[in-house]
Symmetry: D2
Subunit: 357 residues, 4 copies
């Protein structure tokens, strides 16, 4: 069944395992005539490339995207676009010792239960490596969003229990965590160093925003814009919670406090996160995702072998200490995919975007 | 496009507006031979019926479900099951004054932007009334779950800022909020009374659990079990955040703390919420949803007319003060729908459930 | 699974059994703002109404379509349109004697094998009655086609072995078979009378045309326009063959003979049936369907009981002698549904229709 | 939109253009644990390989299938299987002269109208080369059918107007057309030689059979087994008509003649082609497809340039004279894909196959 496909109008289908020959994506529904080249995809992939910050693995993923169909003379043709990334730095030997042991916090046990067989090398299909295909697809989606001047940005508002206390847009690119609070970023770095020395790992909180999204996209009643965003974000391996707008703070308010008043200048507040009744209202789309700590750690943990015998395991492969900031780009890509899907779907209603403010 | 459909193997399609002649659902993929009658559906609908607690509208919805297809001599036949509920207590006159005004916190403005036309009566398609169709479908889904002894239960852990501080399963049915903490329930009641007198409204937090879900359901990589749950829950009108297992607390832990160790007796902890890499691990499925306060309030709020003129609005129709406890049953139904869909999907892998503990 | 749904952008989902309380359809993806009322649907249903010609059953189906959602003040709203038709003239008693016998040529045996249970009354879900829901949906689809001036017409070119030898458009409405050859129509009538007296039944051949279909609709490579037409037509119970354009005559020609030359005035011939590489070329869409004789006959036939015992059966219920001309309207509706689906899909490419002739 | 995807439970998504870097397919829903290797795929591809008979192009397509995901240690894992075939013998230079001319009988004009851009090299996405991906996927599908002993075979019953007059199974592999009538095969060869010398091309008729298909697969009412077969076959570029069982001969019979009587030994006749009411009845599945002549011919034909100027065109690239016998394997593959999809879907009904004879 189509479990590896996402979207309806703009639909991606990903394939590939961490240590197989390649991963990639087939994109259906991309409009024809959009300018495209390898550099656009590569630039997006570079943003999730490992090895930059203190939280990242040293595994080198050159991540050269090969565009193998759906384009002609530098433009999309309207037919399926296939983008493939070969797995060049995959050392399977690192993983043989976990062939018969279920790593806690990973999908080893559940894949085995589901399929009765699993490619244990590096997590196989469950590896975060799979998200590179999403990022490649997200870069193509952004081509559809560009004419609307829709821009998507993510930043880190929590890492290892440290939360930001201010928002300085300029700070985001000045620290390795995409944190908009330089003070918090420093503490995050210290926290990572300490935890790294303990052979442990950390999680964090990412906020993603999209501006210039026209009012009117998103479908009643199941394919709500926030419904699809929630699915898209939660489908990223490490994500354990998704918030839209006020999110978990919404139930703390009364209706009067939470409702966003409309004025000729627009909405006074944005507790809705830019989405009302599942449809964009023209305000900023605001999403937050909560990312669990990387499950692969150097510390010994209790677990079972695949025959049910108790054992201890500690991870020896190359792993990030924290999914941040690499996961940020994946979140941006998922948001781009959802918005593109719904922008195209809206074309079928025949209703132009005519905002009243 | 199929925006009002949910699920792939067990697929529901809902229709209907709050003040139209009827709402209902077509269910595709229900296995044949399951015992079914009106009473099963009615019993589920009664759990979301208004008018029981202090937070509920006085609108009477008899909610008599008519099973109009897909059954024969008390059993499902494998063909589409259509269940319809007529809208008998819908007074459109209450809503004429909002025909040209956008109510804050509602979908009025966004529907208008999307479609250029809207059925303004009672929110039309965006009304919470639509969720009755989900509950009817959820009751059918539960028939598929019964042989697995899968049970789904919801309870309220927050309302109007008041959070529970203990879990007493016996308390749930003993107060009007399905709150497992009688002390908290009392405070919730007081809070509601006060806010009601102020013409305002409240939100809350619901936790939903499913037990006896076999390990192995959920599909890589987009149709993850938690991905589909997140979409299902977020597609409920008032929901602004969805958590799985540790949820927003996961990023506060280290990997060592968050990982759930496996032992021959099962998982030691359940921070995963019963889902690893998008696939059930046999432990309890744990979901939390954060519900915004009801947007319809008696207080005056700033807004616009549909020609962009500033105005004030206060709601005069019959409305709940809080979506809890009615939304709880909707959440249970959405979880039942997702689990049923994936239980059926798993049959196609040909892999039986063979848990190691 | 979604076996009772058809279309992707404009998607219909039908429900109902021949002798259940009702049949109907939910239409998703209909654009908002289209004028709609019961009369439009009823007019279409009247075209497949039984009891008009010599080949039709005397069963009276009032077929009053109830539009229960998705419209407001005489216009579509963009939300799901549900149309229901109650089964008022269904006499189940006529069918009790076939509860345990498999009628040859019907789905009795196959439904039993598939589901282990079946609603035997009047064929249940397999009844031609189901096609009324398609016709209702087709009438809504036509609303989308109207602005393009797309017109769909069907006529009968074969019945009981008698084929037309000329095409007189005026003749179509002047005989009970929608036959464009009055001479042939007379012979068809005689053939029907003779076969009727023998307690037997007949099949026929229907041609369906659509004019003014813009060049450019239909999707590579599986959702080709002709692929979807073939599925739509073959999904009508009695259809055993589908041809596009030259159809079965195409292999009799050489490439030079079969290719349709392009000139500034358009295509010289139309062997393609208006479709090249699965995409409309602006010429007339031409489809032919071959309809098997009605399987319900008065003559004794060999068959089995549901326990495998040999027996004889002859049908005593009310049945048509030939599916023509009632099936013609069903074919028109299926073509309308496919064209509407692809007209809407084409909007997403962002490419306007710019024919060169 | 998902126009390049086919199937719901066993779903394939193809990509690639004739003269792009590669073509291929992503297969979703393949059950885990099936033995697979490159040889199985290659063997299937060899059956549609050009260059064998007198009707084939001399273009060499080595067609080495690369299995790049979804398998581990020689077995399927249940995750998406991606198979890619590089385009090694594609000479784009042959096609530059047709960059601005619409070839009659091809998709050049319709692709241009649809997308406003087209990869003109060798037909791009519309090339028959695309069907290699279907054949690769069909070989995987056959792995699912093998345990049921389902065998699919195709043979040629018409070519260039010459029809077979007998069926000799042994003859099929003994002539280059897969023709079960050696006399007819000789005439076909002569016909091809003559037409070849005239610079023209031919079409033909292929029959495809599947044996051992269990009774009970196929879904009411749109996803009928014959409906899906019709779509699958008609989606092959050159196919203009599809018949099931008696097909176009069905309307020539009376109901008594056409109905297949049931006896304890099975059905007496098989006019139904093994499908009743869209569901398999356990008898042989019989399908016929009518293939138009290859549109690329050496003769001069009238056409237009992309600016609407009249011109003449004759094809100079390497082309087959007739799609037969290469298309036969494509038809077999499409049938395998449809049967596999419905075999898997049937697992969800929970109803085992229990034939009564």
């Amino acid at each position: 069944m189509s479990g590896s496909s996402f979207g309806k109008a703009f639909q991606i289908t990903t394939f590939g395992e961490s240590h197989g020959p390649a991963i990639g994506v087939v994109i259906q529904g991309c409009p024809p005539g959009l300018p495209i080249d390898q550099a656009i995809i590569r630039k997006a992939l570079d943003k999730r490339k490992p090895g930059k910050g203190p939280a990242s693995t040293k595994r080198k993923e050159p991540d050269t995207p090969l565009i193998l169909s759906g384009t002609f003379e530098g433009k999309t043709t309207g037919t399926p676009i296939m983008i493939m990334i070969e797995n060049k730095d995959a050392k399977s030997t690192s993983y043989i010792d976990i062939a018969s042991i279920f790593r806690p916090g990973h999908g080893d046990y559940t894949y085995q239960q589901k399929f009765g067989i699993r490619d244990y090398r590096g997590g196989g299909r469950a590896s975060a490596r799979e998200t590179a295909a999403r990022v490649a697809a997200g870069a193509v989606a952004q081509l559809v969003l560009d004419p609307y001047k829709i821009k998507i940005q993510s930043y880190t508002i929590g890492l290892g229990g440290i939360r930001t206390s201010c928002f300085d847009a300029d700070a985001i690119e000045k620290n390795p965590f995409r944190c908009p609070d330089m003070e918090a970023a420093k503490k995050m770095e210290q926290r990572i160093e300490r935890v790294k020395n303990q052979g442990d790992s950390l999680g964090g909180v990412v906020e993603i925003k999209a501006v210039n999204v026209p009012a009117g996209i998103g479908d009643p009643v199941f394919d709500k814009l926030d419904g699809d965003i929630a699915k898209g974000m939660m489908s990223i391996g490490a994500v354990k919670a998704v918030e839209i707008g006020a999110g978990t703070a919404a139930p703390e308010m009364t209706g009067f406090e939470n409702n966003d008043p409309l004025t000729p200048k627009g909405f006074v507040t944005n507790h809705s996160g830019g989405i009302l009744a599942g449809i964009s209202n023209g305000d900023e789309i605001v999403v937050r995702v909560h990312v669990k700590p990387i499950p692969s750690i150097l510390k010994d943990q209790k677990t079972l072998t695949d025959t049910g015998e108790p054992t201890l395991i500690s991870t020896k492969g190359r792993h990030d200490i924290c999914a941040i900031p690499r996961i940020n780009m994946v979140c941006e890509s998922m948001l781009a995919l959802v918005l593109t899907d719904h922008i195209l779907r809206q074309k079928m209603t025949g209703n132009d975007f005519r905002p009243i403010f």
